[in-house]
């Protein structure tokens, strides 16, 4: 099935800055997510990756303005009236967040937080909802679920809390699951668990996943395609294998090069010189220009347009397929 | 507000020169600037200054004494008689002058009570915070206990038993006004205690009492100023309530609370006797609140 579940076109997010200027947190994000596929959105802090998915779910902080279209089936999520949007959120499109401790309500029992979703969206009775919720917890491998479900979030460990979040998000079997850095706050072993869970879900139920992360290892393990963001803009979009093997954008290449590799001896670790751009400042040209070793004059004055091609897209004036090995040993 | 502990030459004769905080103009200037940004606080400060000036100088400039009886003009409303700008009461005394004198007493009680509360509160809180441990726990328990007692009741009891002397009134009010200051000072002291300059002083053998008085307390100044400014209207309020109940300052002294009490008795026929002092008291309290808010924000912006 290659049905497109979510079609994002030219998504932009802007905020009003302190001095009254407009801050563009996201600019021109576009992609099409097919059923059963998982898309990773990668970038540094401040690249706009979180803001873009928050905008899709209409969860931006007050003062944030979203532009563009986010088509779910035939409806534009950005312009949907609140009541209809609430019928989709938590039901057909679900989201899980980075820090499960603060993302779960510490004042309500887990059972309450889970059953309310089922009662609200699927019209189940309290008893039916409870049974389903317990089953969902067992599906994410939480032992003794029938007893645990009546506990409060702070009585769970970090990894278990995140699994509760995932179970809660998947209760209504949504078409799209958006995961905003769900493993960042967890240790590596727990992380592996969570990723396995998500992959299993994707394969068995055909749930499409959008996975936000700054960790390339996670992307490699879970995602089918990858979008690389920098300075609020899309830099590259490619299937995961191609991205890792032959990245076309200088930023992607350097990003991959900065991951230490076990199979190569390098004299020193590689990192990208410079700092992420200040998004409150007006940008001319490519946002990566200050740190790109291949930058030319054109890159400073004109932002590269995002060009789609066969297997994805690219925003660079001077693309070349590069091997990441080029950078190690620098 | 944390004072900038700039290491520099200490005051001569200081036993811990490296740790004497040099309080330059910057934190104070910063605070002043922040304060000036609050229009309501600045406006209130101006109004308060005007009122204080009026209280101090007004009675000398007005024609009538506060207890002088004008036999020809008994119980006249404001504006009815030239010279009595706010009218007279049923005994022919000029309302405006009595108001200003009353405000003088109220403000005096407020300032004295706040000063006393500040002294006690700072001493208590700084000691508790600095010594820590069980002593701290005990001292703060006393504070908690005092909080649980309805102060007005005890004040009534004390005044009933011991009389309505001026100093007794102030003492009674002070006895229940110092706890907030003590709590806040203790908190700040706890934080300051862990700062390096205290360790340095200790390392040089400075005794505890000296550390408290010469190092901790100067760093509390900002906080103390803010809370002292807030205690003044609180004390004034308590005094007014006591006076309103007939248990405040005695004749021949009068305060705004007493004037409201007297005015309430005849409010149906002579409402201005109630409204004038009531309004003045309310304005003073309102402005004090705004100034307090402004000061709090100036010294401790969040």
């Amino acid at each position: 099935m290659n049905e497109i579940v979510l079609n994002v076109n030219d998504l932009g997010v802007r905020f009003a800055g302190h001095a009254g200027q407009q801050v563009h947190a996201v600019d021109g994000l576009s992609f099409a997510l097919a059923r059963g596929r998982s898309l990773g959105i990668v970038g540094e802090s401040g690249s706009g990756k979180s803001q873009s998915v928050l905008a899709m779910m209409r969860l931006l902080a007050p003062g944030g303005q979203a532009s563009g279209t986010v088509m779910f089936g035939r409806t534009n999520l950005l312009t949907l009236p609140e009541r209809r949007l609430n019928q989709l959120r938590g039901n057909r499109i679900a989201m899980i967040f980075q820090d499960p401790m603060t993302a779960l309500n510490p004042y309500l029992r887990v059972s309450r937080q889970m059953t309310e979703v089922l009662v609200r969206h699927l019209g189940l009775t309290a008893r039916q909802a409870r049974t389903r919720a317990i089953a969902a917890l067992e599906a994410v491998r939480i032992s003794d679920a029938a007893r645990r479900i009546d506990m409060y979030p702070h009585e769970f460990s970090g990894g278990m809390r995140q699994r509760v979040m995932i179970a809660m998000a998947l209760l209504c079997e949504p078409d799209v699951l958006i995961a905003d850095e769900p493993t960042t706050a967890l240790d590596v072993t727990v992380q592996a668990d969570i990723l396995a869970l998500l992959r299993e879900r994707q394969q068995t139920c055909g749930t499409s996943i959008i996975f936000i992360t700054h960790d390339l290892g996670v992307v490699a393990e879970l995602c089918d395609e990858v979008v690389v963001m920098y300075g609020g803009r899309m830099m590259e979009h490619a299937p995961v294998h191609r991205l890792f093997a032959t990245p076309e954008h200088p930023y992607t290449a350097r990003l991959l090069a900065s991951v230490p590799r076990m199979d190569q001896r390098a004299a020193r670790l590689f990192s990208i010189p410079g700092q992420p751009p200040d998004i409150t400042a007006r940008q001319h040209g490519c946002p990566f220009v200050a740190r790109c070793s291949h930058a030319k004059t054109l890159c400073q004055v004109q932002p590269p347009p995002y060009v789609t091609h066969a297997s994805g897209g690219l925003a660079c004036h001077f693309p070349q397929a590069r091997s990441t090995l080029e950078f190690t040993g620098t | 507000m944390s004072s900038l502990s700039v290491t520099g030459p200490g005051a001569p004769g200081s036993s811990a020169p490296d740790s004497e905080p040099v309080r330059g103009m910057s934190p104070l200037r910063h605070a002043c600037k922040r304060f000036l940004r609050h229009r309501s606080a600045v406006l209130s400060a101006c109004v308060l200054t005007l009122i204080v000036l009026a209280c101090l100088l007004g009675p000398m400039m007005l024609a009538y004494d506060y207890d002088a009886t004008d036999w020809d003009n008994l119980a006249r409303p404001p504006g009815a008689v030239p010279g009595h700008y706010l009218g007279t009461d049923e005994l022919g005394r000029d309302v405006l002058v009595r108001m200003l004198i009353g405000a003088r007493v109220s403000l005096l009680v407020g300032v004295l009570g706040a000063a006393a509360s500040t002294l006690i509160g700072v001493a208590w809180g700084a000691t508790a915070g600095f010594l820590g441990g069980r002593i701290d726990g005990l001292m703060m328990r006393v504070v908690d206990m005092l909080y649980a007692i309805p102060y007005l009741l005890i004040a009534i009891l004390i005044i009933t038993l011991l009389g309505r002397e001026f100093y007794l009134v102030i003492l009674t009010i002070t006895a229940f006004s110092w706890m907030d200051m003590a709590r806040v000072v203790r908190g700040q002291t706890l934080t300051l205690r862990t700062r390096e300059f205290v360790d340095a002083a200790r390392a040089m053998g400075v005794p505890s009492r000296r550390i408290i008085t010469r190092h901790i307390i100067p760093n509390l100044m900002g906080l103390v100023v803010v809370y002292a400014a807030v205690i003044v209207p609180a004390v004034m309020l308590v005094e007014s309530v006591l006076s309103f109940l007939g248990l405040g300052v005695q004749e021949p002294m009068t305060s705004l609370g007493v004037l409201v009490h007297d005015g309430a008795a005849v409010m149906e026929s002579l409402p201005w006797l109630l409204l004038a002092p009531g309004l003045l008291l309310s304005v003073i309290l309102l402005c004090s609140n705004y100034v307090g808010d402004g000061l709090r924000d100036a010294f401790d912006p969040k």
Partner: protein, 302 residues
Amino acid sequence: MFWRSLSTLPTLWAVITVCYLLLHFTPGGPFDAERAMSPAVLANLQAKYHLDLPLWKQYVYYLGNLLRGDLGASYRYADWSVNELVAAAAPVSLLIGGVSLVLSFALGVAAGIAAALRRNSIIDYGVMLLSNIGHTFPSFVVGPVLIVVFATTLGWLPAGGLQSGDIRYYVLPIGLLVLINMASISRVMRGGLIDVMNSPFIRTARAKGLPLRTIVLRHAFKPAVLPVVSLLSPMAISSITSAIVTETVFSLPGIGRLVVNAAINRDYTLVLGLVVLITVFAVVLNLIVDLCYAWLDPKIRY
């Protein structure tokens, strides 16, 4: 929780003892031998307080009486014991105090929620304005003003006093108390709700597609109302103070006015008995509110 209840006993004991000792050591106080009083009163005092015994024995008897619920004898009224006076006055105070607390909580919470959900709207400004007024204008000023407006000028409501069964006598006193209390409750509720609505878990609730009403009532209400509940303890204590003022302003035959009149009449033992009673009441109230707080917040369990 048991230990918490026990910890209030020292406070109670301290207050009782201090008051009792004050009573005894006051020059010119009730237990001074030179005091001339009517034989009926003297007989009562003898019976209750055992004046001919050494002090410590008197004290023990006094404590014993208290534990049995006997608050003592009046210094002025030979026919009435303190308990009887209290029994006559208590229902009025409890009714007015209780109703106004409940109403202020309900209205204050509702107003706070409305203001928080519609920030910078007319509702928001209105609630904050009322809150400012109730907060800064002292009750003994607002009270008489209300009387002047509603009773004297408009004639809708009586100016004071009480006639059982006639609800109009209750409107102004309860209204005044509600206005004062609502001021702080609505402001704190508004602030609390605004804070909570910005929490991450509210974002999760929105992501789950829950409607705003469910989010506010089920997810946000409990944590947002916690600071209000912690406000209730000092408010309950201060409602005793407010009762004293309100009953004086509106001439209501409650415990508050009983205390004030006792103080003015120098009815020492009555004042002592009332102080003890009210302090016990205050401490118990404190405890109840603490327990409510623990019940609301699952993270705090004693």
